[in-house]
């Protein structure tokens, strides 16, 4: 789209690429110096000892230690569970949204996005209160006559907090897919005698697969790399990769090791996502569910 209409303009004869470069320069400088360079430093440092010599020991240490392998496994597990949770809550919600007027849809989208617009500290703090010993959940359980179990500082607490933030990332792409389904398909199938469930299984679900899969990819990668919500709701007991990046960098002060953990996190999540995307392409995306 960007290339059209420029050549025929003819209003300016001096080399236009220079103007373009000049306009882009601030962004180039910012991302060169504050994005590319830090990431490059990080990767370089992960192959160094604390004194600066080249080494692979940071990676050997991580991969050789069952504790750290467990942390990686747990990170992927929590990310996968969050993705499934978002799908289970998000799919029916997207179906509900689809049937509403544009005005109501807009409000529902705003509601879904509201957790992303509130400070993450406050959001996580709110969940501490909701799930805490003096919170409403405990109060309801007591009222029913059940002694409230420990609801905080475990995988479940992290899961609840993460589904809360990530739901929008699942529902919005899903909505996009659902909207693209030809609205006459389901009535046509119904007219030919197919029961509602069959219509859902054979038409709506397969045709909304691309949105579901796109949402799943975003939710999975964002969850695997999120720090604040798991740190506050899970505490040190829930062992996740970003938490160890943070403690290694700020408490243990082992920067090369922190860099290595961070880099492993990026490589594993992007690797999984690329593999997943390739798998989908091979299956043409929509035949997966048939």
């Amino acid at each position: 789209m960007a290339a059209i209409g420029r050549v025929s303009d003819g209003t300016l004869s001096r080399p236009r690429w220079r103007t373009g470069l000049l306009l882009a320069l601030p962004a180039v400088v910012i991302f060169g110096l504050l994005f590319a360079a830090p990431l490059f430093t990080l990767v370089a440092n992960s192959f160094r000892t604390q004194t600066g010599a080249f080494t692979l020991s940071n990676y050997e240490r991580f991969l050789g230690d069952p504790f750290y392998r467990g942390v990686l496994w747990n990170t992927l597990k929590v990310a996968a569970m969050t993705t499934i949770g978002c799908l289970l809550v998000g799919y029916p919600f997207a179906l509900y949204m689809r049937g509403r007027s544009p005005r109501v849809r807009n409000w529902l989208a705003l509601l879904l996005l509201s957790p992303l617009l509130i400070s993450m500290v406050i959001r996580a703090y709110g969940w501490l209160v909701v799930l805490g010993p003096n919170g409403p959940v405990a109060a309801v359980l007591k009222w029913v006559g059940i002694t409230p179990p420990q609801l905080l500082y475990n995988d479940t607490a992290v899961l609840i907090g993460m589904i809360h933030v990530m739901l929008a990332y699942m529902v919005l792409p899903l909505m996009g897919s659902l909207d693209r389904i030809d609205p006459t398909l389901v009535p046509a199938a119904r007219g030919l005698g197919a029961p509602g469930w069959t219509c859902f299984w054979r038409i709506t679900l397969p045709l909304s697969a691309p949105g579901m899969l796109a949402g799943a990819m975003i939710v999975f990668s964002l969850t695997a790399s999120s720090f604040v919500t798991p740190a506050i709701l899970g505490g040190p007991k829930v062992k996740l990769m970003p938490y160890f990046v943070y403690t290694q960098a700020t408490t243990t002060l082992d920067w090369p090791y922190a860099a290595a953990i961070g880099f492993i996190l990026v490589v594993v999540t992007t690797g999984l996502l690329l593999g997943y995307a390739r798998l989908l392409r091979r299956n043409n995306g929509d035949v997966v569910f048939q």
């Binding site: 690429w17 601030p26 830090p38 049937g99 957790p115 617009l117 209160v129 809360h164 999120s226 920067w255």
Partner: protein
Amino acid sequence: MIRLLGTGFACLVGLFLIAPVLVTVASSLTTTRYVTFPPQGFTLRWYAEVFRKEEFLSSFVLSVGVALAAAAVSAVVGLACGLAIHRYRFPGRAALEGVLASAFAVPTIVLGIGLLQWFAQMGLASSPFTLLLAHLVLTVPYTVRLVLAGLAGLDRSAEKAAAGLGAAPFLVFWHVTLPAVRGPLIGGAFFAFITSFDDLTVALFVVTTDLQTLPVRIFNYMQYDYDPTVTAIGTLMVLFAAVAVVVIERFVGVAKLFGADTEQNR
């Protein structure tokens, strides 16, 4: 029956989505010294407490200052970069687009620790300025995205007509191009403001004990104290965010920020 079930389910999800905010706001009014829900009694003393704590006030001032600067700089940089990408061919354009797209994908925590090590290597001591620099990486991709969306909707023939009628390039930009991206720019600036104002992950790596943004201050305070002061600050921050959201919704639509359009295909 199914309709009723659907509505009930949607209400439950709605409750789930607003529960943390609802509970935070409500429990900021409790008269107890600990946080509890439902709150007991009614008092505004925790709000007074917030204003009595000097470290919170100084953190608030720092956060607002950095966020304002981040909003202004991202709007300008985003506009320039958006125009460059949309209108011009220049060496490195594809690379720039790639970097901007990957900025959404790189985990914030990895960026944070990268910046920590890079700043240390450069001998750059942490200051409000380094905080601003770090936040620009988080905010500029969004303003560029919104500006590009705005430019895509602009009819180029209006610009050509203005130019053909003899308007100077600057006047064409001022009267035709800029109005088309005004909404995205204002929305983007407000989003940059709340992104910077709320950021904890990157700030944690960039700040020092003497220089703490508000989220960092709250995060550290939470580790030791469990009194309702935090719920009062939280309520104030929610109000702050709500104002920003109203403005963003008015000018661009919140869903657009995240690459979705709720009214698409309708």
